[in-house]
């Protein structure tokens, strides 16, 4: 017997509105967005505890996760929040992903989504409240059993205690389930926390080291077939004709069907599907498709960057400011398209019956996937069940407002009239689009003799990731996609400059783009922190000292700068040939300084050590924060050193890990993570470590070689 009620019962049609899509949607950014969330909290009803946990007679407490576990650790962090208020026995905690249902919509975003480094802070109240409510019910159940007042009872380690009497939560679960839910609960004070703030090992470790953890790729059931889709070789191309005779002769191939994205080969297993797909003779209409060339594209972007675009931030008069300057920095920065390349290639299993559509996949965005599947099947969203599996990495790729891999899998299952798991090869993934957009930045900065900016003129060129998605209405204001200019238009350096002008050219392209770990900050921090370094060198200032002065009114930036500098012993000599670079950046409500120790030998860059200092506000799981900082260093360093998606004749030149290169173990530096003690409102940790990685490294390269890296990846530029 459990406290839970039938989980499918949560799915209500009311949230879906007339369009069948999203209602109550808002996605304000950064700190603004947290203020909105905080304001909304006051009127929010308490969560139904039984939607977030189940207590079984055997004392197992199952925590139901509104967010997807993709490596970032919510499988552990959210249960910590709940367990603290529940006074749970940690050993009895189990975890499962929630179904796609309105109960589990993001407390700030209004849809069910895992992204924006928001999971822990956005659930900080809801999971604690759920735990506190369950505890209150268990206390009342015990009080009724013993005929004593609740005030005579206490809870500890999964038990309600009265003197020497004790009842386990499992023993009380059935009685508690029948009680009315209290209207309010009092949450613990920080001094009473047992779990929050304590370094806690992951709850998903055991199954992930013995091979039993189930990812979308691992879904198997009787009758499930494997499909691979042959997609257009160039973005925007359409299918002219297909000859599938040879494919159908491949042993194990069952069917070949056309779907909007291409031609699907359905087979008994992956190998047959792959061979069948290779045997297809496909004729594509690529005449009107984009014949993109990366080199030409860079030139076009550079031309645009020479003129102002749509204004994103403006004050004073930069022309006047520039004439007053002692030195002028004039620089252009180029960043490539990037693929997320999560270790688990995309996949999605679909079974369509008269009862509805069932989906098994690793997704970061259940609401839009559910809506897309419903639309394709012509059924109500509540008839679409999503079984979220462990995600073998997400980094943003599995949160697609266009629901690309889920929609396609539903189309395949529908066309084939079979339960089908669509599997992408690594080549499909690298060629599949939804990249971090390419960006060019051009900046003219006039500084005084102390290196302080008097005028800051900054133009960005790149594709909008929000255009054409349901987010457009909220995220594109007066022609500016906030995620394109974040980290520049709202930069403390720019804001403090009397004369500044930030503008954006949003380029149209058939190349699909998407958020990539740290979104706009992934390019803007590289540019901004490189520019600050350029300013420091132009005015012969120490890069740390200049940042300290420019950020003197920003105590949280300063705290991370100071902590990292102290731990790195900034200013003290390093071994011969090793040089330091520093960068600081705020994103997703957190502040991070990275100090890189780098040597360059015959053009080879070696990053020896990264010293990371983060202020993410109150820390729930310090071990989780450290892991995410290590992860950000690795992900950011791979992109800085090696990763690039480029185009020739409209075709993506990379295809697999031999030419879309990512960081490997032998290139991983020692990462030392230091947390700024803080009681400030929680920030994110999945992404904020990444933005300052690349500029810390390239600033160290400048210190080592005098060469300013203004385009990524670093690649062979030092050879």
């Amino acid at each position: 017997m459990t406290i839970n009620i039938a989980r499918r019962g949560f799915i209500k049609s009311s949230v879906w509105g007339a369009t069948g899509l999203i209602v109550a949607f808002s996605i304000p950014l950064g700190t603004r967005f947290m203020q909105v969330a905080a304001a909304a909290e006051a009127d929010k009803p308490l969560p139904a505890p039984n939607a977030f946990l189940r207590i079984s007679k055997d004392n197992t407490i199952t925590v139901i996760l509104a967010h997807s576990e993709m490596g970032q650790g919510v499988w552990t962090t959210l249960p910590m929040l709940l367990a603290d208020e529940l006074d749970a026995d940690w050993k009895t905690i189990q975890v499962e992903h929630a179904p796609a249902a309105p109960t589990y919509i993001h407390t700030a975003y209004g849809i069910q989504i895992t992204g924006g480094s928001t999971s822990t802070w956005s659930e900080f109240d809801r999971y604690r409240q759920a735990g506190a409510l369950a505890r209150a019910l268990l206390l009342q159940a015990a009080a009724n059993t013993w005929q004593v007042p609740v005030s005579a009872l206490r809870t500890e380690n999964g038990h309600v205690l009265h003197g020497k009497q004790s009842l386990s939560y499992g023993q009380l679960a059935e009685a508690a389930a029948g009680l009315p839910t209290p209207k309010q609960v009092t949450l613990k004070t920080p001094a009473q926390w047992k779990f929050i703030g304590k370094a806690t090992r992951r709850l998903d470790s055991a199954e992930k080291i013995n091979g039993t953890a189930q990812f979308g790729q691992d879904i198997q059931f009787a009758g499930l077939k494997t499909a691979m889709v042959a997609r257009a070789p160039v973005f925007g191309a359409s299918l002219k004709s297909v000859d599938d005779r040879a494919a159908l002769k491949v042993k194990g191939v069952i069917k070949v069907v056309k779907v909007p994205t291409g031609v699907a080969v359905i087979a008994e297993h992956y190998w047959a599907a792959k061979q069948g797909r290779e045997a297809l003779i496909l004729d594509w209409n690529i005449a009107d498709a984009d014949k993109i060339e990366s080199a030409t594209l860079v030139q076009q972007y550079q031309q645009l960057a020479a003129t102002r675009g749509v204004v994103a931030a403006n004050a004073g008069d930069t022309t006047t400011g520039l004439t007053q300057a002692k030195h002028t920095i004039s620089a252009e920065y180029v960043l490539p398209y990037l693929s997320h390349a999560p270790m688990e290639p995309l996949n999605c299993a679909v079974k369509i019956t008269d009862a509805g559509c069932e989906i098994w996949t690793g997704t970061q965005m259940q609401t839009t996937d559910q809506a897309a599947a419903a639309k394709i099947c012509g059924i109500a969203p509540e008839k679409v069940t999503i079984h979220t599996q462990f995600l073998g990495g997400g980094f943003g790729r599995r949160a697609n407002p266009r629901a690309d891999f889920v929609s396609e899998a539903v189309q395949v299952a529908l066309a084939a009239n079979l339960p089908v798991k669509t599997v992408w090869s690594r080549e499909d993934d690298i060629h599949g689009g939804f990249y971090r957009p390419m960006f060019v930045h051009r900046a003219e900065i006039g500084i005084d003799s102390n290196g302080h900016p008097l005028a800051w003129q900054h133009t960005l060129v790149g594709q909008s990731i929000m255009k054409g998605t349901p987010f457009e209405a909220f995220m594109i204001k007066e022609g500016v996609d906030a995620t394109s200019v974040e980290g520049v238009a709202d930069s403390p350096y720019v804001k403090a400059t009397a004369h500044h002008h930030v503008s954006l050219h949003s380029v149209e392209s058939k190349v699909p783009v998407l958020w990539w770990r740290s979104v706009g900050h992934s390019h803007s921090a590289f540019v901004m922190e490189s520019l600050i370094d350029e300013m420091a060198h132009a005015s012969k200032q120490d890069p740390l000292a200049l940042r300290r002065r420019l950020l003197k009114d920003h105590p949280r930036h300063l705290a991370t700068l100071n902590l990292a500098a102290e731990k790195a012993q900034w200013g003290k000599p390093l071994p011969a040939g090793v040089f330091r670079g520093i960068a600081v950046h705020e994103s997703f409500g957190s502040y991070v300084t990275q100090i890189a120790e780098v040597s360059v030998n015959q053009g080879e860059v070696k990053v020896h050590r990264m010293i990371t200092a983060i202020d993410c506000g109150l820390v729930v799981n310090p071990e989780g924060v450290r892991s995410q900082m290590e992860s950000c260093v690795s992900f950011g360093l791979g992109a800085a050193l090696k990763s690039e998606i480029s185009f020739k004749q409209g075709r993506v030149e990379q295809s697999n890990f031999h030419n879309y290169q990512v960081l490997r173990l032998n290139e991983m530096p020692i990462v030392e993570v230091h947390l700024v003690p803080s009681t400030a409102k929680l920030g994110g940790v999945g992404e904020p470590g990444l933005p300052p990685v690349a500029p810390a490294v390239t600033n160290a390269i400048f210190a080592a070689t005098g060469k300013r890296i203004r385009s990524l990846p670093i690649g062979e530029q030092l050879a």
């Binding site: 650790g73 091979g211 688990e344 950000c632």
Partner: protein
């Protein structure tokens, strides 16, 4: 085709050229071994063939006939595998976890051949296994820790 997987002889009806990875996953139904790249670039599919770490995605199943195939599912019954898994857990290595079967198979093969590897030897043995979550630093220290526990 008869294959010995984790000490059990298994009869599989598969084409000669099917990579061992798909024989293990799609035919034998053992899902712990992962597909990551299909061209021996990422190591997610690493299994042992007569004790040697191999990339199953590029190894034809027919090559494994007459040899002992060992997958992640057998590591909890292996002395070195157990030590590696215990170290992985105590150092909290995993994040998304998708690459970890392959990492553990590579690490176990390493320790069986070299019970006390230094950092350079770990780099050499483990750089064929990609982890996009960046658990590399913890993998290094978990291998040292497992080596110590086995000594």
């Amino acid at each position: 085709m008869q294959l010995s997987i984790n000490g059990k002889m298994t009869e599989l009806d598969i084409p000669e050229d099917m990579p061992l990875l798909w024989a293990i996953r799609d035919i034998a139904g053992l899902n712990g071994t992962k597909f990551g790249c299909g061209m021996a670039q990422c190591g997610a599919c690493t299994v042992h063939l007569d004790g040697q770490a191999v990339r199953a995605c590029m190894t034809p199943a027919s090559v494994a006939v007459g040899k002992k195939i060992t997958t992640i599912e057998a590591m909890q019954d292996d002395r070195v595998g157990q030590a590696i898994q215990a170290a992985w857990q105590s150092i909290d290595v995993v994040q998304c976890g998708y690459c970890q079967s392959g990492q553990i198979m590579s690490a176990t093969a390493l320790l069986k051949q070299n019970p006390n590897p230094n950092d350079a030897e770990i780099d050499a043995a483990m750089s064929g296994n990609i982890c996009r979550c960046g658990t590399y630093q913890r993998i290094r220290s978990a291998i040292h820790s497992a080596a110590k526990s086995l000594a």
